[in-house]
Amino acid sequence: MRTWRPAILGLLAAAILATLYYATRTTERITLLPQPDGSPSAVVVQSKTGSTAVLERPYSVATVTPIRIGSSQTDEAAVRARYKDTLDALPARPRSYTLYFRSGGTGLTPESERFLPVMLKVLVELNERPASELTLIGHADEVGSDALNDELSRQRAMIVAALFKARGIDTSRATIVGRGSRDPLVAAKKGVSEERNRRVEIRLK
């Protein structure tokens, strides 16, 4: 009997090592990153076996194996070191500008008229980056019917595209969208004029 003992211990050790090796080879890690503006966020991780982990603190980690979910905490420096190439590969975040319009039409407000040259300078530069994409999203306030506002918001976006084109910005691949009054910047009652909602968002990514 005694002669068997080392063999059994050896087998046990091998089994433990194999399990550990398997665990490290198959452990997935999900790390919550902070939002750039510091606003709260969360991810919900659900394993194939049905257990769930919710990550709510920046740099908290869910470790997922085929049989269980664990959790741990890391920090910015460690994430940076572990995932440098992946973090750096992220495309630049979209930039966004807004032009405002006078009621009922496609004329810019005096303030936006004055802001236009400043914005154009930035846009000309950014638009020359490789594979840049320009999106113009028109909005209307709550005055008038939905059908009219859908059309008006699209016209506002097209007017901005024409303004850009006239100043040498390539708009041939620009996406032009009219969102009517479905996405107000400021909540307003139906039929109430609201300058801040009569706008075109210029998004460059």
Binding site: S41, T86, A89, L90, P91, R173
Partner: protein
């Protein structure tokens, strides 16, 4: 009204009715290091900055390489070395900002920044790994999946 309609017609003519490029395009390659392949059906393409990506594409990133992709709804993806990612499902309506974005990371690392689809409806965003499914609530995160080869 008449005047604005006329102006918009002139604009449309000037712009050649600019719209979103290819209908099947889900996103665009924005950054690239080293060797990255896009597998589409039976074909395999060497990716370049500016290339479109589509639903059902498999993005393969070799060693010492990485790629950054921006989806139409501003979902941003950074994929690290030795990774394979699949765009399982992508649909986006820029007017309503509704759609669906489902990706799988089969191996390697993925940095994920939720876009406008997730803002409209967090449930429409899903990231799948071998062991888990990840759902979001207005989020940025990194996923790491060990390789099998």
């Amino acid at each position: 009204m008449k005047q604005t309609i006329l102006v918009s017609m002139v604009c449309a003519a000037l712009l050649g009715l600019a719209g979103p490029g290819l209908a099947s395009e889900s996103g665009i390659v924005k950054t690239l290091q080293g060797q990255v392949l896009i597998e589409r059906g039976a074909s395999q393409l060497q990716a370049k900055v500016g290339d479109p990506v589509q639903e059902r594409d498999r993005v393969i990133v070799r060693s010492n390489s990485s790629v950054g992709i921006s989806m139409k709804d501003e979902t941003l993806l950074g994929i690290g070395p030795n990774s394979t990612m699949v765009i399982d499902r992508y649909a986006y309506d820029p007017v309503t900002r509704e759609g669906q974005v489902e990706t799988s990371i089969l191996k390697g690392t993925l940095r994920y920044v939720t876009g406008l689809i997730g803002k409209t409806n967090p449930k429409a965003v899903k990231v799948t790994t071998a062991n888990a499914t990840i759902g979001v609530r207005g989020t940025e995160f990194v996923v790491e999946v060990p390789g099998k080869d």
